[in-house]
């Protein structure tokens, strides 16, 4: 039976893992496969006050054009350079990403009804567009589509943003726009740090940095000629020349390579896939107490957590700051805190019946977080940028980290609460429920500590039910998150007081953080008064997590406020 379930789970997660990456791939040309642009990993591009790696810049550019898709199956830097150098090749290609599905449907409808329907706007092509979101330029520039976009953009609340995104994609994909962003030449002279970087096509480059200009021309000419060896040699020469212009202001090659690698290796992607396997095994351990599943799950969890940690550490190294300044970073770092906390808790409860529960909760939390970061780059943009001015404060590190730590604990509590409820439902359906004893009598930390006359604790006693264990785990998490959330709110108020001139402004995000806290206040007091303490604790822990997620997603993306950047 165990093996059968294990096999089923393995098959399921494998299928998920294979289905996950949303990448449109086609057969790449030999030229694209043969060229080696790895020397450009050590090249930096100045953008928005940051010196980012060429890879990072290309990803940002292609993200504007093609969103999360990979047109032609090409890497972002190859695609970007090819669009810039050979725009004619891309004229008919499905290059431009339309995120909003309703807008896709309307565009397809407009094209179907257009008297000037483009030749390649067949029904099959339009269906594929609705599915993938990728369209050729002709679709979006068609008069009927332009008229449609002009009309719907007046619906500011629903369509202004998607229409702007389409216009941006069309503009960013113009070769001259891509070229204008290639600020590759480091400034020289005194106070070079504060001088603007220079576009590589600037006429002055040929006069002042001839070797760079020659390498850049060589790269373009060999690219156009399809000369693989020439491209490879020019890329290497260009990287060397650019780095040599002003080594004092140029970022280190290690940092740039790390940034390129960070975006190429997909540590977060592999992380969530391995977390899926860890969840399958840890779930079997929790349900069936199968020791092999525990050890297997533990190994997989630690593997995934290592990848997760490596990605966090790399991001910290690349950006020069702890990653907690935007939604992507908050989500992934929060999940990292969950993993870290789980390891500590598992060390504490390693000889008790709580063993494995925190690993399981953390694995689920991290899987959800990393999966969201991986599959929804539009909302969780992985690009590394500078912090907003208001975030340059010590309280960013204190308030934000405490809050996101409390959030991950709330999520973990919701998982143990959910397990409790599933168990309760199955008990109600197939057995009996003893509501008078199906909870941890001493709360959370007290449950861990309370001794018995025989020298055991509740957690090690044979008579302790699984319901008590789950309820105890929920309470351990609730108590800690309760304090951290409250402390985080207070710290946020202190920061707001000296940043915005008021500690509390009833901003939606503030209010819903308070609302989350109120749910846990209700949980603690309701638990005192009701007979079925376990059930109410679980229900309110779930509601608390729902309010927290509502705050993080709906309030952030739907209901604007002062915290909309976080």
């Amino acid at each position: 039976m165990r093996w059968l379930i294990a096999l089923l789970l393995f098959t399921m997660v494998t299928a998920i893992a294979h289905a996950a990456p949303a990448v449109v791939t086609t057969q790449a040309d030999t030229f694209y496969e043969a060229i080696d642009l790895s020397p450009l990993d050590e090249v930096t591009v100045w953008q928005d006050g940051r010196l980012k790696s060429f890879e990072s810049y290309a990803r940002d550019t292609m993200n504007w054009i093609s969103g999360p898709r990979r047109p032609g199956g090409l890497t972002p830097r190859v695609a970007m350079l090819d669009i810039m150098l050979r725009p004619q090749v891309w004229v008919d290609q499905d290059l431009y990403f339309v995120k909003n599905k309703l807008v896709r449907v309307e565009i397809a409808r407009a094209l179907r009804e257009s008297v000037s329907r483009p030749i390649d706007a067949s029904d099959e092509h339009l269906d594929a567009f609705i599915e993938s979101g990728l369209a050729p330029r002709a679709f979006l520039m068609d008069g009927s589509v332009q008229a449609l976009l002009a009309r719907i953009r007046t619906d500011v609340m629903r369509f202004a943003k998607p229409v702007r995104a389409i216009e941006s994609a069309l503009m960013v994909a113009r070769p001259e726009v891509i070229r204008s962003g290639l600020l590759l030449i480091a400034p020289t002279g005194e106070l070079a740090e504060t001088k603007p970087w220079i576009q590589i096509d600037d006429p002055s480059v040929r006069l002042t940095h001839e070797d760079t200009a020659t390498a850049w021309s060589g790269l373009q000419n060999t690219w156009l000629a399809g000369d693989v060896a020439g491209v490879n040699a020019s890329a290497a020469a260009l990287a060397a020349a650019l780095r040599g212009i002003n080594p004092d202001v140029y970022p280190s090659a290690e940092r740039l390579r790390a940034e390129s690698m960070y975006f190429q290796w997909g540590g977060f992607t592999w992380g969530w896939i391995i977390y899926v396997f860890a969840i399958a095994l840890l779930l079997m351990w929790v349900v069936y107490r199968w020791r092999g599943a525990y050890w297997g799950g533990l190994v997989l969890f630690l593997m995934a957590f290592s990848l997760h940690t490596s990605s966090i550490v790399m991001r910290t190294y690349i950006s020069g700051r702890w990653p907690n300044t935007n939604m992507f970073e908050a989500v992934t770092t929060s999940a990292f805190y969950g993993g870290f906390f789980a390891i500590i808790m598992e060390l504490i409860v390693r000889r008790t019946r709580m063993r494995g529960l925190f690993f399981l909760g953390s694995a689920i939390c991290s899987m959800v977080a990393l999966m969201a970061a991986n599959l929804d780059p539009v909302h969780l943009n992985p690009a590394i940028g500078n912090k907003m001015p208001v975030l340059h404060d010590i309280w960013l590190h204190i308030h934000t980290n405490v809050i996101i730590f409390s959030y991950v604990l709330i999520f973990l509590a919701a998982i143990t609460a959910l397990l409790f409820l599933i168990r309760r439902v199955s008990q109600a359906l197939f057995g009996t429920v003893d509501i008078g004893s199906d909870f941890a009598r001493a709360g959370g930390a007290g449950f861990l500590m309370a001794p018995r006359p025989d020298g055991t604790t509740a957690l090690t006693a044979d008579r302790t039910t699984f319901g008590q264990v789950l309820d105890g785990a929920t309470m351990v998490l609730v108590e800690l998150s309760f304090i951290l959330l409250w402390a985080g709110l207070v710290m946020g108020a202190i920061w707001a007081d000296h940043s915005w001139g008021r500690p509390w402004g009833w901003d939606p995000k503030e209010t819903f953080a308070l609302n989350t806290f109120l749910i846990f206040v209700l949980l603690i007091h309701t638990r005192m008064k009701v007979r079925d303490k376990g059930l109410w604790t679980a229900l309110l822990a779930l509601i608390g997590a729902t309010v927290m997620i509502f705050n993080w997603i709906i309030i952030n993306f739907t209901i604007s406020g002062l915290h909309s950047y976080a």
């Binding site: 100045w46 928005d48 006050g49 940051r50 010196l51 008297v115 000037s116 068609d142 008069g143 009927s144 589509v145 007046t154 619906d155 500011v156 609340m157 504060t194 001088k195 603007p196 970087w197 940028g385 500078n386 001015p389 208001v390 340059h392 001493a442 709360g443 959370g444 930390a445 861990l448 500590m449 001794p451 006359p453 309760f482 304090i483 409250w486 402390a487 207070v490 108020a493 202190i494 920061w495 007081d497 000296h498 915005w500 001139g501 008021r502 509390w504 402004g505 009833w506 939606p508 209010t511 819903f512 749910i519 209700l522 007091h525 309701t526 005192m528 709906i554 309030i555 739907t558 209901i559």
Partner: protein, 791 residues
């Protein structure tokens, strides 16, 4: 934790305290508090698509509530809830939780929450919050007669005093000093174009360096048309009697958030037709004005959005005078309408008299479409280029063939000649066009070119350039459809008589533009009442006339079609506020596009729509770029002119505040003008007491500065505007800063409560179990000892 009360409570006190002694009451109150906070903040979902912004209805903005978030959470129900929670908590704690080592945590938490609540009551009940815009400098111009005038240093700013006019030509916030001991230093520099009696030059003034003020004058050298006066004349100023200085912009008031006011002042008409204030603005606070919902007294006075019912639901908000200096003291201004999001628009309204009007759509074969409105003889309200698309009304007397030809009336009084000639050729296009003699006179003429429907000075004019010869000399005459505008010039176009218009009155002319055919596509209304035709005269095609009906596309050429959406043979153009449909509103604009209709009662009732102003600037030259300055003027029955402006309530500052400097700290690569390159904004602020004591303070993001109970923090800045989208003039920005200002009474009480509650939580959750564990272990050990002794 809870124990039975050992305190017998009797009588009335028992009755009162009994319900407050229930934990369930607290749970209920907290649940209501949760709901209250949720609907006050996010609103209520109106559809299952709760991820769509449109799905959330902000309940506190409902017509009967009309509350900001701040007001919602400062409303009596909220205070009542908090009060009840505190009361319930206090009673339960005192009655059922005796203070012991084990319960100290709960006591601390509950005490902390009560202290926090008290702090919040103090904080929110006394909260003042607002802002003020402070410019980098204020230019003070003193002309030789001693008169002076001021204006803020803002891109495009201009002003006049006496015979002198001043216009800011450029502002450089990072001007590098070129000479002197401070060479290389960067400073805020303003260059002003000065026009005075017989002189025209530019003067540059530099903030903090009055000694470097200098003039830049025309050099006569085409290679370098302007040169420093010092270089040309050996002195920096060509006119020492004209003084221009850059003084601090001292602000003594700030403006409160969400507190509306009307400002009034009496004005008189100046010598140049401009309005001159007799008094400063006098403030009238407004109470009870809606914020979020449109209130319309008469739907026919506004342009309703599609789908709106147009039901009248007027308000009657009286705004009494509060100052004896009020120009309308004793007269309440009545606010009868409020529009949350509206812009003034001019539209055609059918009328028994007036020009014809049509709404048309031009469509291309690939689906592109352009819609236009055209009004005969009205270029301001016609959205199409008058040369390309126009509308004309004709009557039975008009012959369509001849009506398409412009005419020139010629009158030679001395010879009794009076003639009207069709203009069919122009020498600009037919250079060898011969002069046409006027029989019996020495005069002859030919037309260089004619232009119709030119928009000059807001008027629609048509004109012909006519060469006239009297047999001896040849000159050029600009002949207009309004002959009072006619002007003679030298043949090469140089104005005669030093630019003053003059006319050789031996020959009189008037130009008559063609009655039809001035545009490539011309709609011809009439002569029958509902008759509409279109004259198509596209390049390369023969002009022809086709009938056209509403809604039926007419092909003009190569698939391009013209559709008449609507038309009327006579309309009047009316300007009213147009309500922007809800979905088209930019929520970030808040109430910046709101309008109220103010009625001034009197023998002749006057009313006007008042747009929202962020600040009640004293004049256009006092206005900060990017902020509206659009006072509304009404004339009272007694002939007085009153200016009104709707803005926010003002509050005195403890000290005058001015801006000594503004600095941007940037990321690597320097400040590019884009916000992403900004690391921080630093406003170097000067506080000046009434006794002249000054104190400098640097305000930046995350680093506010206190001053007599108020905190000043960095709120907004003036970003570069290379396209001049805000003020019509390109700007390098950094001309002003906006300082947020607020008090923070009760903050320390709040903090004390928070810290106490956090300590209490840690104690209750972690210290208490340890104490209990220790005591349990001690009991077990004692028990084991006893058992062993029994054995």
């Amino acid at each position: 934790m809870l124990q039975k009360s050992t305190q017998p409570i009797r009588g009335l006190l028992q009755v009162l305290l009994a319900p407050l002694s229930k934990v369930w009451l607290g749970i209920g109150l907290l649940s209501i508090l949760f709901i209250y906070c949720s609907i006050g903040s996010a609103g209520v979902p109106t559809s299952f698509a709760f991820w769509e912004p449109a799905a959330w209805y902000p309940l506190r903005e409902a017509p009967l509530l009309e509350m900001t978030e701040y007001e919602w959470f400062n409303w009596w129900p909220f205070y009542s809830l908090i009060g009840l929670v505190c009361l319930n908590m206090s009673v339960v704690t005192i009655r059922f939780i005796p203070l012991t080592v084990l319960t100290a945590g709960v006591w601390m938490i509950h005490t902390g929450i009560i202290v926090l609540s008290l702090g919040c009551v103090i904080y929110f009940a006394t909260k003042i919050e607002g802002d003020v815009a402070v410019a980098r400098g204020r230019l003070v111009m003193t002309i030789p007669s001693g008169e002076s005038v001021e204006m803020l240093a803002m891109p495009g700013g201009s002003t006049r005093v006496g015979d002198w006019s001043f216009q800011i030509r450029s502002i450089d916030p990072e001007w590098s000093l070129l000479s002197g001991d401070d060479v290389g230093e960067q400073a805020y520099a303003v260059t002003i174009a000065v026009e005075g009696p017989g002189q025209s030059f530019m003067r540059q003034v530099i903030a903090g360096y009055p000694q470097y003020t200098e003039d830049i004058v025309p050099s006569g050298d085409p290679q370098q048309p302007m040169a420093r006066a010092k270089k040309l004349f050996g002195k920096p100023l060509i006119d020492d009697t004209l003084s221009i200085t850059l003084e601090p912009d001292r602000r003594r008031t700030f403006y409160l958030q969400a507190k509306p006011s009307i400002y009034l002042r009496e004005v008189v008409v100046g010598a140049r037709g401009n309005l001159i204030p007799k008094t400063p603005w006098i403030e009238r606070p407004i109470h009870g004005l809606p914020r979020f919902n449109d209130r319309v007294s008469d739907p026919t006075k506004v342009w309703l959005a599609a789908g709106e019912d147009g039901v009248a639901n007027e308000i009657q908000v009286a705004v009494p005078s509060v100052s004896p200096d009020d120009p309308l003291v004793g007269t309440d201004i009545i606010l009868s309408d409020y529009l949350r999001y509206a812009i003034l628009k001019t539209r055609a309204v059918p009328s028994p008299t007036g020009p014809p009007w049509a709404s048309v759509t031009l469509s291309t074969p690939d689906g592109r479409a352009q819609s236009h409105e055209v009004v005969a003889g009205d270029r301001v309200n016609s959205t199409a280029n008058a040369d390309q698309l126009a509308i004309t009304m004709i009557d039975e007397s008009i012959d369509l063939d001849s009506a398409a030809v412009p005419m020139l009336d010629i009158l030679v009084p001395e010879y009794g000649i009076e003639m009207s000639e069709p203009l069919t050729s122009m020498s600009d296009f037919t250079p060898d066009l011969a002069m046409t003699p006027i029989e019996g006179t020495p005069f002859s003429w030919r037309v260089q070119r004619f232009d119709n429907n030119l928009l000059i000075g807001g008027h629609n004019v048509s004109m012909a350039r006519v060469e006239i010869s009297d047999g001896e000399t040849t000159w050029l005459r600009w002949v207009f459809d309004n002959p009072t505008m006619n002007t003679d010039m030298e043949i090469d176009g140089v104005p005669a008589h030093n630019g003053n218009p003059s006319l050789d009155d031996r020959i009189v002319m008037q130009y008559h533009p063609p009655m039809i055919g001035s545009a490539s596509i011309e709609l011809i209304a009439g002569p029958a009442k509902d008759q509409l035709r279109v004259r198509i005269a596209l390049p390369g095609t023969e002009a022809h006339i086709e009938p056209i009906t509403v809604g039926t596309p007419l092909e003009l050429a190569r698939g391009i079609t013209l559709t008449i959406n609507d038309w009327s043979p006579s309309v009047q153009m009316e300007t009213r506020p147009s309500i922007v449909p809800w979905r088209q509103r930019d929520r970030a604009m808040a109430n910046q596009y709101s309008m109220v209709r103010a009625i001034v009662p009197g023998p002749v009732e006057q009313s006007a729509w008042l747009p929202m102003h962020h600040y009640p600037f004293a004049s256009r030259s006092d206005a900060v770029v990017g902020f509206r300055y659009q006072p509304t003027t009404i004339r009272l029955a007694d002939g007085r002119l009153i200016e009104m402006m709707r803005s926010r309530r003002s509050e005195e500052l403890p000290a005058a505040v001015s801006l000594d400097g503004f600095r941007i700290a940037s990321h690597v690569g320097g400040f590019t003008g884009d916000i992403s390159s900004v690391l921080n904004w630093h406003s170097l602020v000067r506080f000046e007491d009434e006794d002249g004591e000054a104190e400098l303070a640097e305000v930046s993001v995350n680093d506010p500065k206190p001053r007599e109970g108020l905190w000043f923090f960095q709120s907004q800045w003036d970003p570069p505007d290379p396209n001049g989208s805000r003020g019509g003039v390109p700007s390098a920005g950094r001309n002003f800063t906006v300082l947020g200002i607020g008090n923070r009474n009760g903050v320390w009480t709040m903090l004390a409560g928070c810290i106490l509650s956090v300590i209490g939580m840690i104690y209750a959750f972690y210290v208490k179990p340890m104490i209990k564990r220790r005591s349990s272990l001690a009991v077990y050990a004692e028990q084991a000892k006893l058992e062993r002794s029994h054995v």
